[in-house]
């Protein structure tokens, strides 16, 4: 089968790209290993809601129509939203089509799937940043009797044995899972490394409203000092609860979660924690203050001070005097360990020499160094908002423009070659 562009993945990124490709009259298909919004359907826990408010789910040519713009979508609602988008834009999605490999072929690519092969000039990788849970090497030393889970396997507290739970990682997934499990009556110990603390609501407005309005989310990848660092910033400690409460380490401490430092090792069944807990909390507090300073400055300069509440600051993160440095995983008190230690993309099927030594794709704002190959939907790909449902559309716009001019350039070159041959 032949087409100009194969888009791999029918989540928000692949669909946004499809919309722009259609706008630019570029013949394409969107291949999806499962169904539309597959990761949302199969790899999320039951209670998860989007961290971004409803108004912020903007995709090209589509947006939130309901009556609760400040609410947060549940998973079924999120899935419905993306499914509707695929329908509304009549995206040429081929579901249940698993990509087995992508390789060079002539001046283009061959996409091998379990439903036949595609020849194409350009490929857009929109398979997401969160395919495989990252589990640190120290996992090998976890006592075999202990039940371990990743956020992709975790569904709800009922699936866990009664007893203590050790959650490793305090970003969005870790803090939400810790909160839910502690409230279910299972005492949680939370290992905290570097994290990003933000309040859900500041001066009466949702933090995402501020970040959107002040341009923080639009910041471009070529405007930041250190894009490697920016792309590796942990996800915000946020949850989309109906009551809009803030989730942070203080709120977890208040309900009884025990904070420990970053998991540094496991030796003879004892987990060892870094003594850096105080510093990672200080770093997060100071970064939050800088964000709030930016917001206050923006509000002042834009004359919003009268419309919103006064500036204020939040309590510093409370850290006990001497947080424990050891936790015995063999004592029987801890029944389950949950690795909320992040995710990474899966490129095992990508048969092209475009990965660096750490297994990430070398690219410039999504333009991969292999001509005609594009990457979409990754953290800070082109903008701070790149991995959000709300942000991928602008990236898809830019990259589809690049793709279109590449395809046009190739067509011109082909015509010239033909002209030369016929002239000779």
């Amino acid at each position: 089968m032949r087409t100009t562009t194969v888009v791999i993945g029918a989540g928000q990124a692949g669909l946004a790209m499809s919309w722009w490709l259609a706008k630019r009259s570029i013949d394409h298909v969107v291949l999806e290993r499962g169904e539309v919004a597959n990761s949302w359907k199969t790899e999320r826990w039951d209670s998860l809601t989007l961290l971004t408010p409803n108004w912020q789910s903007r995709l090209p040519g589509y947006g939130y129509q309901g009556g609760d713009p400040d609410g947060f979508r549940t998973m079924p609602e999120t899935i419905g939203f993306i499914e509707q988008y695929a329908e509304v834009i009549s995206a040429p999605v081929r579901t249940h089509t698993k990509v087995i490999s992508v390789r060079s072929r002539g001046e283009g690519y061959e996409v091998v799937t379990d439903q036949g092969n595609w020849q194409c000039e350009t490929v857009v990788l929109a398979t997401g940043a969160c395919n495989i849970p990252v589990v640190p090497a120290v996992a090998e030393a976890v006592p075999p009797a202990m039940k371990t889970l990743t956020p992709i396997q975790y569904r709800n507290p009922d699936q866990l044995e009664e007893g203590g739970v050790f959650v490793v990682g305090a970003s969005a997934s870790g803090v939400q899972i810790a909160d839910e499990i502690q409230r279910s009556g299972r005492p949680v110990t939370l290992a905290v490394g570097e994290h990003v603390r933000v309040p859900r609501v500041y001066r009466g407005k949702d933090i995402k409203r501020w970040m959107d309005a002040s341009g923080v989310l639009d910041q471009r990848y070529d405007e930041v000092d250190d894009i490697v660092r920016a792309r590796n910033v942990p996800s915000l400690q946020l949850a989309g609860y109906t009551d809009r409460r803030t989730i942070d380490l203080n709120s977890l401490t208040r309900i009884g979660v025990k904070l420990v430092g970053r998991l540094a090792g496991i030796n003879q069944g004892k987990a060892q924690f870094s003594g850096s807990l105080r510093n990672v909390c200080a770093l997060a507090d100071l970064k939050m203050i800088r964000l709030l300073d930016t917001i206050d400055e923006w509000a002042r300069e834009n004359g919003c001070d009268g419309e919103v509440g006064p500036p204020h600051r939040f309590e510093p993160t409370e850290v006990e005097e001497s947080p424990p440095l050891l936790l015995d995983l063999t004592s029987g008190r801890i029944k389950t360990l949950i690795w909320a230690t992040g995710f990474r993309p899966d490129y095992s099927w990508l048969d092209l020499p475009v990965l660096d030594r750490k297994g990430t794709i070398r690219h410039d704002g999504g333009v991969v160094e292999a001509p005609g190959l594009y990457l979409l939907g990754m953290p800070f790909l082109r903008r701070r908002k790149s991995s959000l449902i709300d942000g991928v559309g602008d990236d898809a716009h830019d990259l589809s423009a690049h793709l279109a001019s590449y395809v046009r350039g190739k067509a011109v070159k082909t015509r010239e070659v033909h002209a030369r041959f016929s002239a000779g």
């Binding site: 570097e194 430092g261 540094a264 090792g265 030796n267 060892q272 870094s274 003594g275 850096s276 510093n279 200080a282 770093l283 100071l286 970064k287 203050i289 800088r290 001497s322 030594r357």
Partner: protein, 188 residues
């Protein structure tokens, strides 16, 4: 790398351009980033010993310090020693302070913050029943380290705190002390 916005250029005596240059070079050649630090030590008498630091390996080659550095260590008179030098644990505290303070100077330079003075005091608690073997439940090492900085600089308190926090994040000795490290001691 950074552009000074103040009229007087910030000078903490740290060549940040060189540090950032090295970071970029080493990202491309990670093998050159593999360093080996060395020390040797000889017993003098009693509890006194003398450590020597001379050479190290890095940037793909053997390297030598400009001079050979020696550090004596001993124990105080309350341990019935001669107190000819600082104790090894005090040298560890000095190492931590030196590492953090160097980091503060470098981070401040990178952030265009002029330092006027940086002073640290360090205190570490220890229950010596551990090292005496008097109670098996007491650890040998510090039960905690408290570092207090007094910093005079052209910056807000929050900015200074951020410099100190970033210095901890990047400090080798801070990491060595806060995280477990395998130690192998052999006799040849």
């Amino acid at each position: 790398m950074t552009t000074a916005t103040t009229e007087k250029p910030v000078n903490n005596g740290v060549n940040v351009e060189a540090l950032f240059g090295a970071r970029e070079a080493l990202t491309k050649a990670p093998e050159a980033a593999q360093f080996k630090w060395r020390a040797s030590c000889e017993w003098v008498k009693g509890t006194q010993s003398r450590s020597t630091v001379d050479s190290f390996y890095g940037l793909g080659a053997e390297q030598k310090h400009k001079t050979k550095f020696t550090f004596d260590s001993d124990h105080p008179e309350v341990f019935a020693s001669e107190d000819a030098a600082a104790t090894p644990v005090e040298i560890v505290l000095a190492g931590l302070a030196g590492c953090l303070t160097a980091g503060i100077a470098a981070v401040a330079q990178a952030r265009d913050i002029q330092l006027r003075s940086v002073k640290a005091t360090l205190e570490a608690g220890m229950d010596i029943r551990g090292i005496l073997g008097a109670d098996p439940d007491v650890r040998n090492g510090f039960d905690g380290i408290k570092v207090t900085y007094k910093i005079d600089a052209d910056a807000s308190l929050d900015d200074i705190k951020a410099v100190v926090a970033q210095s901890q994040k990047r400090s080798a000795v801070y990491d060595i002390i806060t995280n477990p490290t395998n130690v192998t001691v052999e006799v040849k």
